[in-house]
């Protein structure tokens, strides 16, 4: 067999990426890749998406100069306000894009996985708005942790399917969605929520989230007349990070990707105390891609941990794994405590309650302000309303 076959088969980021899925899913993924590549060149598709991003999602989101935080850290800090996107997080940028692709492909049903519930909510929103039957797989443990988001999804007509297999969290919800899709691809689109998984998901999700970086680039040039020295984003699977980083890859800008340090580097043979696949993981295959993952020496996937449900994933998108290896992106850690400090600080200093995920980016910046240079952008990927109960519980411990 010619190795060349592989390159046509699936986009690679260095050695990372690929398409490691059961044969039944190969064809649906190829069809999705073809449709997405065709539509990315289709002006009408872009007009439709841009209208929805503007009038429905509320884009462009502000790039806000955080006066008080800047004073505190002695560095000019701007916040990219993805918390103001409809639904409360950047997730809608991707679900709108993919739902329109699904529509053009003639699909009538959407399935999705969700951990924190934010991606599930963003899928439920497009399901209701664009007229899809929507089912969201969610681990039993996460359903218990995120009751409000379950109710939000149900209000918008989505069905939440409890996942009882494996660790009953996000990775198992992805497994279950892939199993569903292997039988339902004829009429169903699998709307993956992060820049991970098999080709074309890492590229497609990055492209739909790149609107964050494109706006930020224009906005910072307008406000400051120059490029930022650094950009900070949190990393679960990598969609908000790739979304803001992608348009800056060729610029002299330090890209800081903050993973969940959780309780620390510890692990048992089943559970890691963190969600830091780049920080503490190794090469392996998860959900269709070769990337950095948290695993035991035999290749069993570990359960991850973070106070932020959206960062509680034992893998990372293959493009980030690659960019981290080349040194273009710098992986960093913020543990639970640092994230909670970021959460409180941004609330008090700026009157903005960030999602616990985004609070990892804020917490990191506060901990290592010298890494930021004199002008930084922090991606506030979501708002913190969903996390209030978690934070109250945490503080009472």
């Amino acid at each position: 067999m010619k190795p060349q076959l592989c390159e046509e088969f699936a986009v690679r980021f260095g050695r990372y990426g690929g398409l490691f899925v059961p044969e039944t899913l190969v064809q649906p993924l190829k069809e999705l890749a073809e449709a997405y590549e065709r539509l990315m060149k289709d002006g009408e598709f872009h007009s439709e998406l841009n209208l929805l991003l503007k009038h429905f999602a509320g884009r462009p989101t502000p790039l806000y100069f955080a006066r008080n935080l800047s004073r505190e850290l002695k560095c000019r800090i701007y916040l990219k306000r993805e918390d103001l996107v409809h639904g409360g997080a950047h997730k809608l940028n991707n679900t709108l894009g993919q739902a329109l692709v699904a529509k053009r492909m003639g699909k009538t049903r959407l399935i999705a996985e969700t951990g924190a519930g934010q991606h599930g909510v963003a899928t439920a929103i497009v399901g209701a708005n664009l007229g899809f039957e929507t089912q969201v797989y969610m681990g039993e443990v996460d359903i218990e942790r995120q009751k409000m988001n379950v109710y939000r999804m149900e209000l918008m007509g989505a069905e939440v399917i409890p996942v009882r297999s494996g660790s009953r969290t996000l990775k198992d919800a992805i497994n279950e969605a892939m199993r569903d899709w292997a039988a339902s691809f004829e009429h169903t689109h699998y709307l993956l929520g992060t820049a991970a998984g098999a080709h074309p998901f890492p590229s497609m999700v990055r492209d739909f989230q790149s609107v964050i970086g494109h706006e930020a680039r224009e906005q910072i040039l307008e406000a400051e007349g120059r490029m930022p020295r650094s950009i900070v984003a949190c990393v679960g699977g990598g969609s908000n990070a790739m979304g803001i980083f992608a348009p800056f890859l060729k610029d002299d800008v330090r890209l800081l990707a903050v993973e969940a340090g959780g309780r620390g580097p510890g692990r048992t043979d089943k559970i890691a105390d963190n969600g830091a696949s780049m920080g503490y993981g190794s090469d392996g295959i998860l959900h269709g891609a070769l990337t950095k993952i948290l695993q035991d020496p035999f290749g069993q996937i570990l359960e991850s941990y973070s106070v932020a449900a959206g960062l509680d994933y034992p893998g990372v998108g293959p493009e980030l794994a690659y960019l981290a290896e080349t040194g273009r992106v710098l992986p960093k850690l913020a543990d639970d405590k640092t994230a909670l400090q970021g959460f409180r600080a941004l609330s008090r200093l700026e009157g903005i309650i960030p999602a616990l995920e985004s609070a990892h980016a804020v917490g990191y910046a506060m901990q290592e302000p010298e890494a930021l240079g004199d002008l930084a952008i922090i991606n506030i990927s979501g708002r913190g309303d969903k996390d209030l109960a978690t934070v109250m519980d945490y503080e009472n411990l």
Partner: protein, 243 residues
């Protein structure tokens, strides 16, 4: 007839004896599953078996010990997910297969396009790498898969995941008929009764692969019923072949 069991379920120690009993009951090939934490091609039955086996202490080292101990005359074939192979190292894994009497590998999440490095390792150690084709595999690709596979082609009887079903899909017969060339073809996913096994053989398959129903009987401790099922499947298939 190919019988799948999940190695280490209910316990690692039980596996070699189980393999011998299945061979004695008439299994022509034993497919020994290595349990994985995230088996995306498997339905609830095999998922549960994998969890039990991992909890009982099954890992890749133990797997190869048990495979060596299960000394049967019929071929043993590995079935498992690519990350387990990748974590051990492709060459070491293929060599461990050869040394423990495993003659082939089925890796459900590894399409031929991604399998070039593993295929090299398998060739070095004389182990077959068996590829899968599905009802939605288009003709050109089917041709490529049949060319690339060694040992036999694994025809996935239906879209979706593993698990016992009560019928044979129309898709299955279509897929069997579409396979070009004359390499052996085995049909699996959903086959649970002697009648279904006979039906796929009548439709042109060389073998039926039976998994979830066996795993289920093992989970319930009904080993004698399992042996009886294997004997019944075998005679149902033989009856078709004699026709």
């Amino acid at each position: 007839m190919i019988i799948y069991i999940c190695a280490g379920d209910p316990s690692p120690d039980a596996t070699p004896d189980l393999v011998r009993r299945l061979a004695a009951a008439g299994a022509d090939i034993i497919e020994l599953g290595l349990p994985h934490s995230d088996p995306i091609a498997d339905g609830p039955t095999i998922q549960a078996a994998a969890q039990r086996a991992i909890a009982a202490g099954m890992n890749t080292d133990v797997y190869f010990q048990m495979a060596s101990l299960a000394d049967v005359a019929v071929p043993k074939v590995f079935m498992g997910y690519y990350n387990m192979i990748y974590a051990r190292g492709l060459d070491k894994f293929a060599s461990d297969c050869a040394r423990s009497g495993i003659s082939g590998m089925i890796v459900p999440d590894l399409p031929p396009e991604e399998a070039v490095p593993l295929k090299d390792a398998c060739i070095r150690h004389g182990v077959d790498l068996i590829f899968l084709a599905a009802p939605n595999t288009p003709p050109e690709r089917l041709k490529m898969i049949v060319e690339e596979t060694s040992g036999f082609t694994y025809l996935v009887a239906r879209i979706g995941v593993t698990g016992a079903r009560s019928d044979i899909a129309a898709d299955t017969r279509g897929l069997i008929a579409r396979v070009p060339g004359n390499k052996p073809k085995a049909v699996g996913f959903g086959i649970s009764t002697p009648a279904q096994a006979a039906e796929v053989v009548r439709a042109g398959a060389d073998a039926a692969i039976v998994g979830s129903v066996c795993v289920d009987l093992i989970a319930r401790g009904e080993i004698e019923r399992l042996e009886q099922l294997v004997r019944d499947m075998k005679s149902a298939i033989r009856a078709v072949k004699l026709q």
